[in-house]
């Protein structure tokens, strides 16, 4: 038997029709995650062609991108401030009714960011193919699933046929030795990786993250790493399932139970790259070299250690333009730079352990005068747990806003925006121009860095608070 990579094993299990020189493979999709922003036009196609949803049982629908995070608007009967968002939400409700789909709606206690509730409900499982009209679908690869973002036309294909046409991508192993040092997080690791390979370093590839540093990560941390695979241009990111994965999934609502659980674990245990398997490319990193990171530019590859300086690239007009947008000069010191907004949230860093870390830094402290801090849990379940464990009180006592779950200020679709010209240390995934609002200046960092920065009102190395 030929030695195979984890990706190849999952891919081969889902080939309905093999690829030929003239036609791509027909690949079966086990789980389709759907939300309000990238689905309306796909439902329109089904409607106009008289098609039904082939597998409602394999379609998990919720709303997260344009939903309000203000409690009064979610639960208090106050109208949703953005009329276009309210309309989009009503459209999804209507489409679910018409097409016979269960909807995890605005007031549902299972609602949250789609990439957070998939794992939370146990719908995300090893060996599955998972797609969603959202590029951060790569998150689910943390479980050894093959998970990738698709466009709205493909959302329609999956609704109608549960399949996609795909050419087989190449494989890229990112081998990470040693362990992250104390005070350094999974976010710092993935920002280092993107800084190293570039925002196009993974184009055309599925990444497998491997090695002792990855094996030592919790599921929450593995999800943070896989989440940002797309920021390196990769189709997907994967981690081989192991005891950590199984412990996370056991007992979750949609995970197998009893004998089915035992069979599943036996099957999942085989989902790893064989020792003789060959990747198309290999990149190696030492986790011990990773420091707390922060972005200084307008893409997630423009990152540096917090202790470092903004680099210089003389003669590069695009680089110069990015720094001009950010209001930073080459050589500028990153540490101690004043910020006006801090955002803890998003599918990258809004899980319970992220909130716990931010709360650890903030406990007994106040955020600096003039700083606005927004903490948006990744799901309503995380919200309840964070309240039960006292994290929410730490945030509100510190002067931060504690919100209902959703994508919120990661992309500002729901009106949670950073004003033009202001600096925002954000635990989200993209620092593109205008991502958090027209003219907003995003500095990507970990939850610990975000919390430490909120306390000082200046970019701060979280290790000062965590030692």
């Amino acid at each position: 038997m030929t030695a195979k990579t984890l990706f190849e094993k999952v891919w081969e299990r889902h080939v309905v029709v093999p690829e030929t020189p003239d036609t791509p493979a027909v690949i079966y999709i086990d789980l389709h995650l759907t939300h309000e922003v990238t689905s309306p036009q796909a439902f329109d196609v089904l409607r106009s062609r008289g098609l039904r949803v082939r597998r409602p049982d394999r379609t998990l629908v919720t709303m997260d991108h344009s939903t309000p995070t203000d409690t009064a608007q979610v639960f208090g009967g106050v109208p949703i401030a953005l009329e276009s968002a309210a309309k989009q939400i009503r459209q999804l409700e209507h489409n679910c009714t018409e097409f016979g789909l269960d909807l995890i709606g605005l007031q549902d206690d299972r609602r949250g960011i789609v990439h957070i509730i998939g794992p939370e409900l146990g719908a995300t499982q090893p060996g599955r193919t998972i797609v969603c009209g959202d590029s951060h679908t790569s998150t689910h690869g943390a479980f050894g699933a093959l998970a990738f973002g698709i466009g709205t036309t493909e959302v329609g294909y999956v609704l109608a046929t549960q399949c996609l046409l795909q050419r087989r991508p190449r494989t890229l192993a990112i081998e990470i030795s040693n362990r992250l040092a104390s005070g350094v997080s999974a976010k710092d690791l993935v920002l280092s990786i993107i800084g190293r390979i570039g925002v196009n370093g993974g184009t055309g590839h599925v990444i497998e993250y491997r090695g002792p540093a990855i094996e030592a990560l919790s599921m929450d941390e593995r999800m943070t790493v896989c989440n940002m695979s797309i920021e390196a241009g990769a189709r997907a990111g994967m981690v081989a399932p192991d005891a950590t994965t199984f412990a996370y999934l056991k007992g979750r609502p949609r995970a197998p139970r009893g004998e089915a659980w035992e069979r599943a674990v036996t099957d999942w245990t085989g989902l790893h790259t064989d020792s003789a398997a060959v990747f198309d490319r290999v990149v190696s990193l030492d986790a011990a070299d990773v420091e707390p990171m922060i972005s200084y530019g307008t893409n997630p590859g423009m990152v540096a250690p917090i202790s470092g300086n903004v680099p210089d690239r003389p003669g590069d007009p695009v680089f110069a333009r990015a720094l001009e947008y950010m209001g930073l000069a080459p050589g500028a010191v990153l540490r101690d730079r004043p910020v006006q907004v801090v955002f803890v949230g998003s599918c990258t860093n809004a899980r319970l352990s992220d909130l716990e870390l931010a709360a650890k830094v903030l406990a007994g402290r106040r955020i600096a005068p003039g700083v606005r801090m927004l903490v948006v849990p990744g799901s309503q379940q995380i919200k309840r747990e964070a309240e039960a464990r006292g994290f929410a009180k730490v945030f509100t006592d510190a002067g931060a806003e504690w919100r209902e779950s959703g994508c919120s200020m990661c992309l500002g679709m729901n009106g949670d925006l950073v004003p033009a010209g202001q600096y925002c240390v954000s635990t989200s995934n993209r620092n593109f121009e205008g991502r958090q609002g027209s003219g907003a200046r995003t500095l990507l960092a970990s939850p610990a860095t975000a919390a430490a920065t909120a306390v000082r009102g200046r970019v701060t190395d979280p290790r000062e608070f965590l030692q």
Binding site: Q41, L82, G133, C163, R167, N200, M413, R430, F432, G434
Partner: protein, 195 residues
């Protein structure tokens, strides 16, 4: 397979050049325009934050606001255009504005896939051709999908790669959904065998 759009065979147009690398889909269409439930009219939002100032007035220095950009159907961009968000609103906005092809040395995966499905031709060219196109904004060129070549004004005809099936769909104005639906029996058999 069923009809989708007008077939694409060749595009002849002057070029608009945006040399920046890593033009992400948040630039092509910012998120605040994504609360729409249709695909119409998004051309008005194309590159909104680069095209218009805070007061909503056109920025005269932005390339699409110059007279010579009017009517151009081919966008030549720096490497890795379309990175970031999977929003199909990006190709919808480009098409609604009037573009029919995007040319670069490298085009991000999801954006390329979305473009092909809407009849916006993603054309990946070699460094030398790209360099020439960047240095000659407004050049009138032809993108020939039949021969998978570009025709430059100096007579050169560099080839570009297109996935065979996507090319077939573009040239015949059909989409992949009909092809997938035609495999209904194979899909049912797969579902039976794997459950």
């Amino acid at each position: 397979m069923s009809a989708r759009t007008n077939p694409v065979t060749a595009i002849r147009s002057r070029t608009v050049v945006m040399p920046s690398g890593n033009i992400d889909t948040d630039q092509i269409i910012p998120a605040r325009f994504l609360t729409t439930t249709t695909r119409d009219g998004l051309g008005a939002a194309l590159f909104a934050d680069w095209r218009y100032d805070a007061a909503g007035l056109p920025r005269p220095d932005f390339v699409l606001n110059r007279a010579e950009a009017r009517g151009c159907q081919i966008l030549v961009a720096g490497p890795n255009i379309g990175c970031g968000s999977s929003r199909e609103h990006a190709p919808w906005a480009l098409l609604d504005y009037g573009f029919r092809a995007v040319v670069s040395t490298e085009i991000a995966d999801i954006f390329r896939s979305n473009s092909l499905k809407n009849g916006l031709l993603p054309v990946v060219v070699d460094e030398a051709t790209h360099g020439w196109l960047l240095a000659n904004p407004g050049a009138e060129i032809t993108i020939d999908l039949e021969t998978t070549t570009l025709r430059l004004p100096d007579g050169r005809t560099p080839r570009f790669p297109v996935e065979a099936f996507a090319r077939y769909c573009l040239m015949n104005g059909v989409d992949e959904l009909g092809y997938l639906l035609a495999h209904g029996e194979a899909i049912t058999a797969f579902e039976r065998s794997s459950s």
